[in-house]
């Protein structure tokens, strides 16, 4: 008799009636064969695995994370509310102890969506993990969260949202940005002045296989997680590191993904990318589900799986070893690095140009943060896109100190309204979200 060692919940929402466009990789067909495999394997019949129905998130759930221009409705579709709702449902079930672990097998994905949203980037409009996490922080007694993003693409949206948050450890393992979209995610990207070290990037060379991924998990990720001691661990479980993925160059496998999941032991996994819809996803998803539930997955293999033919070269092995050492040193020295970055600054600024590939948009951003030792710091973002909108967005963090909260309101109250189309305020201390429209 097959029985799950860990009570595991699954939200399966393939959105069979939604696509970015008819021939886009993010189309109706994407999870069709995964559904076939999951159903044929009878996963929902296993004792201790249960299927849950997704929730639908509210506008406020989205506003808690994003500044949507001009508003939430304009940059989302119903499927985004359901896919974020799938993640939220899993998160609630875990924290309500209805299940021990859970996997939101939903689409569309979200990890390229940043704090300010003018449109879609990397097939993502809103960040479904962040929407879940911030809801859980509001509704339950959790504080420290670790996100391990194992999608092949750098999770630049999640990185952006948590860049200044020392309570959220974001680790992204991805194909080196010099060889793949979005082109970011290097080890020196370690977080803002109030949160240095809470962002960790592990860019792996093309053709990394099981050996390399599992090495990084065991020798870099797990020790850092042990040190950080999060209340919950979330895995952004993209599946495009697979050797058959059409838009990436890695050599990972279903066996590898299952082993990674067993090692990482995430409380919550959320599907991100993965576009080898016939050759990879059906097997990878079955592998991940069995691994989460603590069930033998040794026979879950792609029909054409041949570990010898995808094995990484010795050069890759030694490159990854060196990279791992560098990252561990950064982690140990994060305090010193933070001191150096802060200097005597009261405010820190960064200017960025952000490209929205899915919607072909450019955004110009100037971000200002109050350097603060008592909280994550108030943030002010001046953003304009080539659609013509110019906005000001102010974020007062969850555990803001009096000074940062005061500064946030001062920015909001004294902003020159004639300069902006809209002015937004996110006051996380009071779960309050305001918009001023010119």
């Amino acid at each position: 008799m097959l029985r799950a060692k860990y009570k595991t919940g699954l939200v399966f929402f393939p959105a069979f009636d939604w696509a970015i466009s008819p021939t886009h990789p993010e189309r109706e067909e994407r999870l069709l064969y995964t559904q076939d495999q999951v159903f044929e394997e009878g996963l929902f019949d296993i004792d201790g695995i249960q299927e849950l129905k997704p929730d639908i998130v509210t506008i406020k759930d989205v506003q808690r994370v994003h500044f949507c221009v001009p508003d939430v409705e304009h940059v989302t579709t119903e499927s985004h509310f359901i896919s974020a709702g799938g993640a939220k449902r899993i998160g609630m079930a875990v924290l309500d102890k209805e299940i021990e672990r859970g996997f939101a097998l939903v689409r569309p994905p979200g990890h390229h969506a940043m704090r300010v949203v003018h449109g879609a980037r990397g097939f993502c409009n809103v960040n479904i993990e962040a929407i879940m996490i911030e809801y859980l922080r509001e509704a339950y007694n959790i504080d420290k969260v670790a996100i391990v993003d194992t999608d092949c693409h750098h999770g630049d949206g999640t990185q952006d949202i948590y860049w200044h948050d020392p309570y959220t450890l974001f680790i992204s393992i991805h194909q080196d940005g010099r060889t793949l979209y979005p082109g970011s995610g290097f080890p020196n990207e370690m977080g803002g002045p109030n949160a240095v070290g809470a962002t960790i990037n592990i860019p792996l060379p093309p053709h990394t296989s099981e050996e390399g991924f599992l090495y990084v998990i065991k020798n870099v990720v797990l020790p850092i997680l042990d040190d950080f001691k999060p209340d919950i661990i979330i895995n952004s479980a993209g599946q495009d590191n697979h050797y058959s993925d059409p838009i990436t160059n890695m050599n990972f496998s279903a066996q590898g993904y299952a082993a990674l999941t067993s090692l990482l032991k995430p409380d919550i996994a959320v599907l991100e990318g993965g576009y080898s819809i016939e050759g990879a996803l059906p097997y990878v998803n079955v592998g991940i589900i069995l691994a989460m539930a603590g069930i033998d997955y040794s026979k879950v293999k792609e029909p054409n799986y041949d570990p010898d033919s995808i094995r990484q070269t010795p050069e890759i092995t030694s490159y990854i070893k060196k990279l791992g050492e560098e990252i561990l040193i950064n982690w140990e020295q994060k305090g010193k690095i933070e001191e150096k970055i802060r200097g005597a600054k009261e405010l820190d600024e960064r200017d960025r140009n952000i490209f929205y590939d899915t919607d072909s948009l450019h955004e110009k951003q100037k971000e200002t943060i109050r350097v603060c030792s008592d909280c994550s710091g108030a943030i002010r973002i001046d953003s304009s896109s080539d659609l013509g909108s110019h906005i000001l967005a102010i974020h007062i963090p969850r555990k803001a100190c009096r000074d940062c909260k005061g500064l946030g309101y001062k920015w909001y109250d004294t902003a020159d309204a004639s300069k902006y189309d809209m002015i937004f305020l996110q006051d996380r201390t009071e779960n309050k979200y305001l918009t001023l429209i010119e």
Partner: protein, 567 residues
């Protein structure tokens, strides 16, 4: 002698745990009803006695339909009295098939087919021949053969069948049992079919023979768990469908009095158990996958029902100063000479009921009242209240479960259809006693099904033939197939979802007629119709179409006038 104008009498028989109910229906409505005690060690005798008693004085030639619902296969499974069969299972990658092992002669073999029905690894014929030798030596007669994704491509099961067919009595192939995906359930279902086959065949052949000897020449129909019937001939290839037909009989018996455009909850309150189901516009809600019984999860289509160990004869006792009711039954109520107090005795105390010994009930209730320090009248109220509450709670839980069923499109989520019955129909022995209290507690309108004591046998008699067809098309591979129906043809690129639905309805019609349906009685509907564009690279390479259609469970139209006369 009972006479009717035409030869249109129907016999319905339902074997229950305690009683077997038999009814004779004609144009005038219910002509005759018989109850005999069920002897579970000799169901053949029980069924025959029931039929003989019913047919005393009836001219056999006037009977034109006989429908039987028995507990034969259900009992064999629950009591684990199943004969040895051989199982050959080919899995390929995925969960290790050893976890799905059903019995001792279970062989996991090589060979593999993927989710689109493409062969990954061929069958090893030598391996199968060796296993065939072993099974023959062991004296195994009946075999089940199942391969993963055989509902997409049955070729491996067919090849194995070809090797085995001359050496064994009967071979059941997984793809012919159900069109649904679910390998482990396909294994369990195929196993159960092979295992109950000899019992089922022997039993119904014996019944058939006896009826022929009595001059009853009409074909026998058998009730299935989905509330539909099938002919005896077609049951030989799927005897597993007869499992758990009992609750289905009662639900079908309630349909005649169910409202047309509303949802209702059906409660069949028996002596030991209460069975529940939901009707939407007179159509029962079906289980999404299939029956669970005796530790097996199957692909046998069935009504969504729930059974709890609480009924009119449940044992009432006091434990730790609290009243405890059921799940066991020690005999009838004390009012009817039973040994311990029951909810029925509580009704005797509270109401004026004929044909029983109220004094005995009071005596029983007094012992309960003493245990909880109250009057026997209060104890009676407490017992009835607790029993009704428990039944309603379970019913609500089942309804919640129906509403929690996941859906996979935005459209369905937005539509968000929620079942919320506003009416309760009760049937079964103690039904009328319960009705008023259930109404008070639930706030819903509660009605007692007409002929509540034998509604189950009436349900069996009037149920129509049902079946389901699952069809898929993969125009990239140029195939359209319904392996369960042994149907597969090649198609051209322009094949559409509408073509697929038309084809599926054709197959459904053929299947229903072959199973004994009347041509005027094919209420067909689409359960699922999905079409996906298959894109490889940047080009559309084909369409992937999935269709599921069914004949809805319901009463035979021709007999609606009979059903109306029951009201």
């Amino acid at each position: 002698m009972i006479k009717t104008k035409e030869n249109s009498m129907i016999v319905g028989l339902d074997v229950g745990g305690t009683h077997t109910d038999v009814v004779l229906l004609g144009n005038e409505g219910l002509l005759k009803e018989i109850k005999v005690l069920t002897d579970s060690s000799d169901l053949y005798r029980t069924v025959l006695t029931g039929l003989e008693k019913l047919l005393e004085g009836v001219e056999p030639a006037k009977i034109n339909r006989i429908v039987l619902s028995t507990t034969l296969t259900t009992n064999a499974i629950v009591q684990k009295k199943l004969p040895q069969v051989g199982m050959i299972v080919s899995s390929g990658p995925g969960i290790d098939p050893k976890f799905f092992c059903t019995n001792s002669h279970y062989f996991a073999v090589s060979g593999s087919i993927d989710h689109r029905g493409r062969e990954i690894e061929p069958v090893d014929k030598n391996e199968i021949e060796n296993i065939s030798g072993i099974l023959k030596n062991e004296g195994i007669r009946n075999i089940g053969v199942v391969s993963k994704f055989s509902v997409r491509n049955p070729s491996h099961e067919l090849i194995i069948n070809e090797i085995l067919k001359d050496s064994f009595t009967k071979i059941f192939l997984g793809h012919q049992i159900s069109g649904n995906l679910n390998f482990s359930r396909r294994i369990a279902t195929t196993y159960l079919n092979a295992a109950v086959y000899p019992l089922h065949k022997e039993f119904f052949e014996a019944v058939n023979k006896s009826l022929k000897e009595k001059g009853l020449m009409v074909p026998i129909h058998i009730l299935k768990a989905d509330g539909g019937t099938m002919s005896f001939e077609s049951s030989i290839d799927s005897p597993g469908r007869t499992i758990l037909s009992g609750p289905a009989a009662s639900v079908m018996g309630s349909i005649a009095s169910a409202p047309d455009e509303e949802e209702s909850l059906v409660l069949d309150i028996g002596g030991t158990t209460t069975d529940m189901a939901v009707l939407i516009n007179r159509i029962p809600v079906l289980e999404p996958l299939g029956i669970r019984l005796g530790g097996y999860k199957t692909l046998i289509r069935s009504l969504e029902t729930r059974s709890i160990g609480l009924g009119g004869d449940s044992v009432v006792k006091v434990e730790d100063g609290k009243i405890n009711i059921g799940p066991e039954r020690a005999g009838p109520a004390m009012a009817y000479g039973g040994p311990v107090p029951t909810p029925t005795d509580a009704f005797f105390v509270m109401k004026h009921i004929k044909n029983g010994d109220k004094k005995k009930s009071i005596e029983g209730l007094k012992s309960i009242a003493k245990g909880i320090g109250t009057s026997y009248e209060n104890a009676a109220h407490e017992i009835v209240d607790q029993t009704c509450r428990k039944i309603l709670e379970e019913a609500q839980d089942m309804i919640n479960l129906i509403n929690r069923k996941p859906v996979y499109t935005i459209h369905e989520i937005k539509e968000g259809y929620h079942v919320k019955p506003k009416k309760i129909i009760v049937l079964g022995g103690p039904a009328p006693h319960f009705a008023e209290y259930l109404e008070k507690l639930s706030g819903y309108k509660v009605s007692v099904a007409p002929r509540w004591k034998v509604a189950n046998a009436i349900g069996a008699a009037l149920a129509r033939t049902t079946c389901e067809v699952t069809l898929f098309a993969d125009t990239e591979q140029k195939i359209v197939a319904a392996p369960e129906e042994r149907f597969s043809i090649s198609v051209k690129e322009g094949f559409t979802k509408d073509d697929a639905v038309e084809k599926a309805f054709d197959l459904l019609k053929q299947k229903a007629l072959q199973r004994g349906a009347n041509i005027d009685d094919l209420e067909m509907e689409i359960l699922e119709d999905l079409q996906f564009n298959m894109i490889r690279g940047f080009y559309t390479t084909g369409k992937n179409i999935r269709i599921k259609v069914q004949v809805k469970p319901g009463l035979i139209h021709e007999y609606e006038s009979i059903a109306e006369r029951l009201l």
